[in-house]
């Protein structure tokens, strides 16, 4: 009987187990194989991710509560698992050639990347403050290391230091909020917390809860890089190894949103009056500041960092419209999920181009994109498509997300948010156009063609196809998102 329980509990946890095994395997093989066969490690990691996807498939549409309510498996958790795994796989493809001559210990890189992916899958299913905190910290600590992975690069370790200091302080602040929440409700379980808070008719707890929520937002806002908790992001994005920057901008952010959604919608739904306005304010600030700051950037990684901040703002609108999930036409939460998926392909695609150019020119300056059209028309065209998607021009991927999120905002009467969102979309065209101008209209600084290595070409192809054909190819995920009743 006991064994059966163990198996029953481990079944829904199989994606995490496979990921963990893959991480350990990569680490072990790195030690065992030595220099010669290290080239195989990415393949091992990719194999592990393939296994994870298979394991995730078996959980499609299931709902399970595990470990006495510490962890759950449900469609939205599965959705975030898919995001984590897809992002990790693409990032591995992007990293294969990246570290040539830049860093040793690539085995550790892949291993830790898999752990980061594991952390995100855990964040998605955590329903207990202890698990929430632990999984966030797991992701953070691994991220600090991966950011500073190029030890000899001054920018890389500066980025890691800033990320570490900001993250440590933000998570301690968040933790303080969690301790207050535990104190007032007597429980760390989100469901039980919701029950206690729901029973608090007079609102006598609201003082503490408000403080706790604000402190928690510092930590969550840090993870999703919402203004004003975003300032670490540009510096860190610029300094981190580019593939990991890509990971931070999509996967790590998605993890943050997973926690944000889970926490607010499980623990606090009845206190909506208190936090919806707060989130809406954050959303407006995040969109606007992100877009305005992006205009100034001369470094494409920094520009994409700000663009990624702005995107978080749009996504937050979806959280504001969370009530829209039930019994209505798409919107809120499924909008958030699909937006994140669409953004994953689009942004990873953009970063793939960045890496290809970086490998060829050794630079991330936007000025060095001059004449990209002449040097490799495919790259220029692909970047164009990704930027169209980031702006939200149909039929590209992010348009779908924007459509769902903005229409739910309008339906719920948040006209202001929708209009600010649309206007911000127009502002963002300005800085994307700046890069396009370089790529298409200006003469190249040198004439050597830029060539993408096979793994990068694969990553580019996948992201390009998914960005353009999102409506067609993402059907299963769209279905999955529509089941999410988080």
């Amino acid at each position: 009987m006991a064994e059966l329980t163990v198996l029953q509990a481990l079944g829904p946890l199989s994606p995490q187990l496979v990921l963990l095994l893959a991480a350990l395997l990569v680490l072990g093989l790195d030690l065992a194989w030595g220099e010669k066969r290290r080239g195989w490690l990415p393949s091992v990691a990719l194999l592990g991710l393939a296994g994870t996807i298979v394991a995730t498939m078996s959980l499609w549409g299931r709902r399970e509560v595990l470990f006495g309510g510490v962890f759950v498996v449900d469609p939205s958790a599965v959705f975030f698992q898919v995001i984590a795994v897809l992002a990790t796989a693409l990032v591995i493809l992007m990293s294969i050639d990246y570290f040539e001559g830049r860093a040793t210990y690539t085995g550790e890189f892949y291993s830790l990347l898999l752990v980061a992916s594991l952390a995100i899958t855990l964040m998605a299913g955590s329903t207990d403050l202890i698990m929430v905190y632990l999984s966030i910290e797991l992701l953070s600590i691994v991220s600090y290391v991966l950011t500073g992975f190029m030890r000899e690069d001054r920018r890389s370790n500066e980025a890691a230091l800033k990320y570490f200091l900001y993250g440590a302080a933000a998570s301690a602040t968040m933790l303080y909020g969690m301790s207050l929440l535990y104190g007032i409700t007597g429980s760390t379980n989100l469901e039980e917390m919701a029950a206690v808070l729901g029973a608090d008719a007079g609102g006598s707890m609201s003082w503490v809860v408000l403080a706790a929520v604000m402190l928690l937002l510092v930590g969550f806002g840090f993870k999703v890089s919402a203004v004003p908790f975003h300032q670490w992001a540009p510096d860190v994005y610029e300094g981190a190894p580019t593939p990991f920057t890509a990971f931070l901008s999509v996967a790590s952010k998605a993890g943050g949103f997973a926690v944000l959604l889970r926490f607010f919608l499980t623990a606090l739904p009845d206190l909506s009056v208190n936090w919806v306005g707060l989130i809406a304010a954050l959303s407006v600030m995040t969109m606007t500041v992100g877009n305005l700051m992006a205009i100034f950037q001369k470094n494409i990684k920094r520009m994409l960092a700000y663009s990624s901040i702005a995107q978080a703002g749009y996504i937050l609108i979806g959280l504001v419209c969370w009530r829209h999930t039930l019994g209505a036409y798409g919107g809120g939460i499924s909008g958030v999920l699909l937006y994140l998926l669409a953004y994953l392909f689009t942004n990873l695609g953009a970063f793939t181009v960045v890496i290809i150019v970086e490998r060829a020119t050794g630079s991330n300056e936007i000025a060095d994109y001059a004449g990209l059209m002449r040097r490799n028309p495919w790259l220029a065209a692909a970047l164009f498509v990704f930027f169209l998607s980031l702006v939200g021009i149909p039929p590209t991927a992010v348009f779908v997300g924007k459509l769902l999120i903005f229409s739910s905002a309008i339906r719920l009467g948040y006209y202001g948010l929708a209009i600010i969102g649309v206007v911000n979309g127009v502002i963002s065209m300005y800085y994307y156009y700046g890069v396009m101008r370089q790529a298409f209209f200006l003469p190249p600084k040198e004439d050597t063609p830029i060539v993408a290595s096979p793994p990068l070409a694969v990553a580019l192809g996948v992201t390009l196809v998914m960005t353009l054909g999102f409506l067609v190819f993402a059907q299963p995920f769209i279905q999955l998102a529509s089941w999410s009743t988080l």
Partner: protein, 102 residues
């Protein structure tokens, strides 16, 4: 017994001292120490709430233990980063580490 609020106030004080340290110290190692103060403040809270809530349920203590673990891990990674940065720039004064900005 001592009222719960006393512990919580001590914890709040400790937390804010730590916060001040994080914001105001020049040296990265000192900032890390201040973070440790903040984490300790949290632990005082957790244990106090455990004691005055339901001592049979161990959530608070488990949480505190997890915080210990994370603190240790964080310290290890942080110190490793400091060493790496010190190697390349001969300083760990956080104010001076501002290569990237704007």
């Amino acid at each position: 017994m001592i009222p719960l609020s006393w512990y919580v106030l001590v914890s709040a004080a400790l937390f804010c001292i730590g916060l001040f340290g994080v914001l105001a110290r020049r040296n990265a190692v000192a900032i890390l120490m201040a973070v440790e103060l903040m984490l300790n403040a949290v632990n005082v809270n957790l244990v106090a709430f455990w004691r005055y809530g339901e001592p049979q349920a161990m959530a608070g203590q488990v949480f505190a233990l997890i915080v210990f673990t994370v603190a240790a891990a964080e310290a290890a990674v942080g110190l490793a980063l400091f060493i790496a940065i010190y190697r390349s720039r001969d300083t760990v004064a956080v104010e001076e580490i501002d290569l990237m900005k704007g």
